[in-house]
Symmetry: C2
Subunit: 440 residues, 2 copies
Amino acid sequence: MRSIGIGLAGLGNVGGEVARLLLAHREEFRRRLGAELRLAAVCDRRAPSRARRLRLPGSVKLKRRWQDLLRERSVEVVIELFGGAGPARELVLGALASGRHVVTANKMLLSRHWDEVFRAARRNNRQVFFEASVAGGIPILQAVREGLAANRIRSVLGIFNGTTNFILSEMARCGRTMAEALREAQRLGLAEKDPSLDLSGGDTAHKLSVIASLLAGRRFPAERIPCEGIERISPDDLRFAAAHLGRTVRLLGTLNLDWASDPVRSEAHVHPTLVPLQHPLANVHGSYNAVLVDTSSAGDLMFYGQGAGPGPAASAVLGDLLQVGRELLAASGREAARPRAALPSRPLSPAPESDAAFYLRLHLSDRPGVLAQVAGALGERGISIAQIHQDVPGASPRGGKGVPVMIVTHSAPAAAIRRAAAAIERLPASAGRPVCLRML
Amino acid sequence: MRSIGIGLAGLGNVGGEVARLLLAHREEFRRRLGAELRLAAVCDRRAPSRARRLRLPGSVKLKRRWQDLLRERSVEVVIELFGGAGPARELVLGALASGRHVVTANKMLLSRHWDEVFRAARRNNRQVFFEASVAGGIPILQAVREGLAANRIRSVLGIFNGTTNFILSEMARCGRTMAEALREAQRLGLAEKDPSLDLSGGDTAHKLSVIASLLAGRRFPAERIPCEGIERISPDDLRFAAAHLGRTVRLLGTLNLDWASDPVRSEAHVHPTLVPLQHPLANVHGSYNAVLVDTSSAGDLMFYGQGAGPGPAASAVLGDLLQVGRELLAASGREAARPRAALPSRPLSPAPESDAAFYLRLHLSDRPGVLAQVAGALGERGISIAQIHQDVPGASPRGGKGVPVMIVTHSAPAAAIRRAAAAIERLPASAGRPVCLRML
């Protein structure tokens, strides 16, 4: 029976689970694929101790440097789980150049180096699979690329970050502050010690960038995605939203594509957003992810599941690995790999953030005439007010830093709202930067 | 550029949409696949008139008999959209025997003839794709077969029939009777003239049979799936469930697999089920489908989307067709097709319906001692009562046929409940067959 040598780079939580499943389900994968998936070598700075903890059999070669992993001739597929864009990039490019297929979970790498990675793959006639880079265990990329291949994808909207979704869920459920909910997430292993990439929306932007790049067939840089995090959301916002607006806050990544225009106009952004409580995305709690996809023929679909954690990520990595295995079996004795489902490269032109109703939380000193100034700042920019609440019961004045005032606008251009919020911040009566949330 | 000849059998709503999209998006599919998908021939009893309505170009050959479609030498892939298990079976077997790949949406065919069809496919080294046979536009089969291939699928639970879900949603939303909601569904084109296969749960059982066969790698007959329809659900049930139990009714197909036993124990059934209002499946309204999948590594996932209609079905058919196209390109000049992701065939042993709490609606004549007899019928079988409601406000006595009594039991063996219901029906005071709903 044919045996396929696997080189696994990175033995952290996900890598460890991949190794464990490869060994534990060897028989099952063999029956399923008609070939053996053999863990030939692992690479990790702490290889010996981690290999011991995982009880890797002696036949698995241990390497500390990725260069040595690539020197292992029996390795036909490299699984890259280093993360980040440094050695991971060199490893992936080196693997492709030396004729290996690659499976990676690395959204940052793909977001930054998409064109370089896929040029190298094409040049060497090798494949790069990356299901685990977006939405963990949910096979959303395969769905978009294959199952829904006959459709034009009109929009992708979703919760792509489990850490922030856990924090927002906890804040809404128990009235906890951001800091308390974050500590709880860290205690449960759902947030890293330095959670800034999650909280800032940067992780969501990387994932959105991967999806947009896949749909465009070329790099869609994360820097082109305006991105706002949840750092400034307070329990007041969640309380007010639930009581007065029937809504809750979700950190959403949005990608809208207008296929009727040429080049295709693309609106992409990451924002904390007020979502109606009956909306499916409001009912995604804890560290789950959910992605809504609007398509030309299949209509709207939702995919929901665990967005992070060793099990879901390993499921995606191994799903990709089984696909690579089938590629290798099909290509046995031939040089050419099978053509992949890929959208032909086409340029996307960035479109501005679309109109929406907005929620503003202001902190104002309690002086006569202040509300008139605020209303003026909005009115001047053509923004009309749908609701205004001062003296909100339960809202905390935050140590004398002014009185919270909640404003809900009618639909208006997002740019105008953001300019108005900046103008309000500059008012002498302002006691801090307004919080500004899109309404879905 | 390579051109792939398509033979399309069946020009009804779905077939018409497939033809339309093949022609309208020809350029896009060509760019995407690197080959042309050419509609070479269509087969339909009413081919000329339907072809005219669809404005098929003159180059598309029109056939009235499937035998003539197979005589068309340029046809490399047959899309079977006849439906039913008569000519569809002969066409599919004939297509495989003559070396064509097959794409089909035919759940009844697969449910009845799985082994025969896939034996023929293996013998002729050809593929059968059938994404459109289950859950319309949702790429659930690909997810189970490929994206989640590294997992053991522990359960599949879902709403697989849009017609009955529309009817149950309408009954709950507007208090309509079954007959009224059915007429509305028919008016909207969501139910067929003869809706019995939908209402009876038979269509759901066929779909569950396809999923179970895919997971077992061998035929899992629909006849092995106990199946109950929604025909006897009344607005009283929905009203009572919402007011007293915080639940609504959904027609669910359930498949539980116990991989720890050998052979694998499988519990499969189709039942109208009381689902808590906060449960994601209770929030699937109208003609949508949703499938919950519980997996060993990726955890629980949900897939949601339009389960029927020409657009979603055509999306699934064309997604399959693009995959077949890639197979054909990869196999060019070789005899062998690429090995498919398939679970190795393994026997499933049927397990009985698992324990659950149940809801019973009885119609009893209003005589002394009747409730004692009912309680006795339950108690004798070890079933204890959690709630009992007589004189339910708003419940209609249905033309003097006794008084409705609603009973909610504690968890009990399903077989005991069904035996108790039969015993209650035989009581002299009984005025009709009890309605019996599982609680999720």
